[in-house]
């Protein structure tokens, strides 16, 4: 099996997903079974053989990019834990979904870090939240919760501090809804438990070593701490979590030799709120406004990924109307506008990080404000848009963007919406990008700071599951809008921005080029909006139900968001008639997984460059920590 005939092997790299599954089933019949559960796809791999099969999938079948690795707890439905992997080819096409199951008591699945380094943080997350051990993982520590946390929050039998009911809507709200505040009913402190083997004295320990105790990868704290005086030439530097350049509460622990960084480990979870557990309590609809709070710079894109995933599931049922053309055009327009917003913001704050303090960012933010004004007029909120619905949208474009407020300053704004849009897309945004390029692209200081800094090679970018501008800046022309198109992207004319160098400057160039491509897309959207004026955004003319039921199955909806591949893995465990709440709701967050190669990108650079490298990855902590 390790030596398949050379001729079929060549064909295997380009075989369709079905052919690949067929190959795996015939060649490895002992380890691979088809996942024939209703609405599920892919294969189930026997745990002990997972490494072999994964190697075949990567090397022979050519699925070189592990997009997502996540766990599901099937308590009450087989009582096993399951790891779900989505592997793609960087040349494009659909996912090869493979799964490995283990029992809940002694959950163990071999680590795939040796095959895809991109599995590193995702496996740590699965250990942290789901309690699956990964033999072979170099640093299997909790990543979002703290060491000493009791339990694994995403398990179905784990309950949070303010637990009310398994699923929303809660019965206490209606019809006998006597108001109470959660903290009065359930005082925090009485329901905190600690694992038996934890030393609680550690929490009182104010010495330096406690700060680094939960770390492992690369930073040998003890060795360095043991040295004293000036004899040491290596030093541990802690940056964050409260550091202005980390874009939120994010922490990096680095060892420096003189000024040069020898290793770096990202530490996160300070903004963790168990978004996925909340998502499982929620109904499907409830989750849409929660997705806004992930990457709050580009909430339209977050909405899009989630509704795509749920629409995929809904399309398994009989009563499903796909969105109308106008709805799709509006979605794409909103998403492209938010991509521009995202890149303006990312470039602006990256410049802040490398020292161009706030002058450029404020020039860009002026234009961002106009786009947000538009979002506010259409969706009702500048950043928490909550605009998309399953099979439709919150509302069509208003005829006029205007304010009739009771506050002050009536009559301030009153524009025709299409005119406002046309002017913004044809004049204002291109002008802003021109200004941005004039200000920066040939700026010698910027060139010296960014060229050759934070280099991520093509191979590493793919292997570390980097996504978005980070991946394309390393010469991989992988854009989901082209690789696995969704919505109306196939008919739109645009290019995938790509740069070969893999340094900070390449990422900057990719972002600028992507903004220009977004403008190009938007210019094609405008006539489509005019042509469909008057058409309903709902296929059947009326808004969708407030409590949609979703048929049994799994779906992975992914979009190319500003920061990279944003994926939603949603499992519905509904019986006949479907379920009202997702069984599993997982977010494949680009900000989180793009941090995996942070360590290798930083090695050998100065501390001041680390800040810039982090800025060039472009993370949002709302999405990193979820």
């Amino acid at each position: 099996m390790d030596n398949p005939a050379p001729a079929p092997e060549r064909q295997l790299d380009t075989a369709t997903v079905d052919e690949a599954i067929g190959f795996l089933r015939s060649e490895h019949a002992d380890a691979v079974t088809l996942d024939d559960r209703d609405g599920y796809e892919g294969i189930i791999v026997e745990g002990g053989r997972l490494l072999d099969i994964a190697r075949v999938i990567r090397d022979d079948l050519g699925f070189d990019y592990l997009s997502s690795a996540t766990a599901v707890d099937y308590l009450g439905a087989g009582d096993h834990l399951e790891m779900v992997y989505h592997a793609y080819r960087t040349s494009g096409g659909g996912a090869l979904v493979f799964k490995a199951q283990t029992d809940r008591e002694n959950a163990e699945i071999p680590s795939l870090v040796s095959i895809w380094r991109g599995a590193d943080f995702q496996e740590r997350e699965a250990w942290d939240l789901m309690g699956i051990k990964f033999p072979g993982h170099p640093n299997l520590k909790r990543i979002l919760m703290w060491e000493g946390f009791q339990g694994h929050p995403l398990r179905k039998d784990w309950r949070e501090a303010y637990y009310e009911e398994e699923q929303k809507p809660f019965d206490s709200r209606w019809p006998g809804g006597h108001v109470h505040r959660a903290e009065e009913k359930n005082v925090f402190g009485k329901n905190v438990t600690y694992p038996p083997d934890i030393d609680l004295g550690r929490l009182m320990d104010t010495s330096e070593s406690a700060v680094y105790q939960s770390l492992g990868l690369g930073v040998d704290v003890e060795r360095i701490m043991d040295k004293d005086g000036f004899e040491t030439n290596e030093l541990v530097v802690n940056m964050g979590p409260h550091h202005p350049s980390t874009h939120g509460v994010f922490r990096m622990v680095l060892t420096v030799d003189g000024e040069t960084v020898t290793s770096l480990e990202p530490v996160m979870g300070y903004l963790h709120r168990n978004h996925e557990k909340i998502g499982e309590r929620n109904t499907y609809l409830h989750n849409i406004p929660f997705t806004d709070r992930l990457d709050y710079i580009s909430s339209m894109g977050n909405n899009h990924g989630y509704v795509l995933a749920v629409e995929q599931l809904m399309s398994l049922g009989r009563k499903y109307n796909p969105p109308t053309y106008r709805c799709e055009a509006l979605r794409v327009m909103m998403v492209e506008l938010s991509r521009i917003v995202n890149h303006l913001w990312a470039i602006g704050f990256w410049l802040n990080d490398i020292g161009a303090f706030f002058t450029p960012v404020l020039y860009f933010v002026q234009e961002r404000e106009r786009i947000l004004d538009f979002f506010e007029a259409v969706a009702g909120s500048r950043m928490m848009c909550n605009y998309m619905r399953f099979g439709g949208l919150f509302g069509d474009l208003p005829a006029r963007i205007k304010s009739v407020s009771n506050l002050t300053n009536d009559r301030v704004r009153d524009y025709n919406t299409m005119q406002f849009l046309t002017e913004m897309i044809n004049e204002r945004i291109p002008r802003t990008i021109d200004d941005l390029e004039r200000l920066l692209t040939q700026n010698e200081i910027l060139l010296e700071r960014s060229i050759g800094v934070g280099v991520l090679s093509r191979e590493d970018a793919v292997n570390y599951s980097a996504a978005g501008p980070l991946l394309r800046g390393s010469g991989v022309a992988y854009d989901i809008r082209r690789a696995e198109p969704y919505s109306i992207y196939p008919e739109l004319d645009f290019d995938v921005a790509v740069e070969e160098e893999g340094d900070m400057y390449a990422r900057y160039r990719v972002r600028v080029a992507e903004m220009r491509e977004s403008v190009r897309i938007l210019k094609q959207i405008l006539p489509r909006l005019e042509a469909t004026a008057g058409e309903s955004i709902w296929a059947d003319g009326k808004p969708g139900a407030y409590a949609p039921r979703v048929p049994h199955g799994e779906a992975y909806g992914r979009v190319e968001n500003g920061k990279g591949e944003l994926g939603y893995y949603v499992v519905s465990a509904g019986g006949r008639g479907g379920s009202a709440n997702p069984w599993r709701y997982h977010v494949r967050a680009p900000s989180f997984i793009n941090l995996t190669p942070m360590g290798i990108m930083s090695r050998g650079h100065k501390v001041a460059d680390i800040v810039g490298i982090l800025g060039s990855i472009d993370i949002v902590l709302g999405e990193t920590d979820r």
């Binding site: 709200r173 809804g177 020039y363 919150f394 509302g395 009739v404 009771n406 506050l407 010698e444 409590a547």
Partner: protein, 279 residues
């Protein structure tokens, strides 16, 4: 030549610097005086230079669709038949569709019959929990709960001030039409009337029954006043004696009884399911 890129960029900074003064000169510093028109210049799409807003001296007016903490619509005081009455029928959809579950509703019961009546006895929104998503307003079948434009809700004590009760939440219908005329008009088109759905239904029913009892064509002309009388009768009937409705029992109580029955069954099912999960 080394440094040309830098110089080009600095020219842009210089341009922004000059522009802010050019605009000042053009408008003769009128831009900064606190008046609507001047503010419009500064916040318009053609403006250059300084665009900042001096909050709280100046406020950007919010667009119609802007959403902040919800409020409940009650009928205006000068409404001929339903003055001060809630639009809310306490159907509970807003409470169910609320993602953070910040809405509490106590459904009212008729003190005489014990049956539920279509108006809330109490209504609470914990604005600390509210995430301003607007689902309650979007999915309310009676257009009774709306998102407000008033975003200045800071207070010194969150424990007492941040749970809005029905009194605090209620705002007259005319307020909603004032802050969102286009949306109010669109909702009217969907509803088919400027009145509350139920009131309109009552009115139609009243008109129909009066036609039935008085089948002469002359009776059709004054249909509108009769409708008002009919809805008035039903409105007063809810608090006092059972309404002397033309077709016997008031239809909503029947519906509600059925709904209550369905709900009870659903709760039982849910409890059974929960018990099964617990095993």
């Amino acid at each position: 030549m080394y440094g040309t890129g830098l110089a080009k960029g600095l020219m842009l900074t210089l341009r922004h610097f000059v522009e802010s003064y050019v605009d000042d000169v053009r408008y003769g510093f009128r831009k900064y005086h606190h008046s609507t028109d001047n503010f419009g210049i500064r916040q318009g799409t053609k403006t250059k230079g300084v665009i900042t807003v001096q909050y709280p001296d100046e406020k950007v007016a919010v667009p119609e669709r802007f959403r902040f903490v919800p409020f409940l619509i009650v009928e205006d005081e000068d409404h001929p038949t339903r003055a001060g009455k809630d639009w809310c029928t306490s159907c509970g959809i807003c409470a169910k569709v609320c993602p953070p579950q910040c809405i509490w509703i106590v459904r009212g019961n008729d003190p005489n019959t014990g049956r539920p009546v279509p108006e809330p006895e109490a209504f609470f929104i914990d604005i600390d929990i509210c995430m301003n998503c607007g689902f309650c307003a979007e999915y309310c079948p009676f257009d009774a709960i709306k998102m407000d434009h008033d975003y200045e809700l800071a207070s010194y004590d969150r424990t007492t001030h941040h749970i809005h009760d029905k009194e605090r939440l209620s705002k007259p219908n005319s307020y909603w039409r004032g802050i969102a005329p286009t949306r109010a008009y669109e909702e009217m088109l969907v509803r088919g009337t400027w009145e509350h759905k139920d009131a309109a239904k009552e009115a139609r029913r009243g008109a129909a029954s009066s036609r039935a009892s008085a089948p002469r064509p002359a009776a059709e002309r004054p249909a509108a006043p009769q409708a008002e009388v009919a809805s008035e009768a039903s409105a007063s009937g809810e608090t006092a004696a059972p309404a002397p409705a033309a077709e016997g029992a008031t239809p909503w109580t029947e519906d509600d009884a059925k709904r209550e029955e369905r709900r009870r069954k659903a709760l039982e099912r849910k409890a059974r399911r929960a018990a099964k999960r617990g095993q």
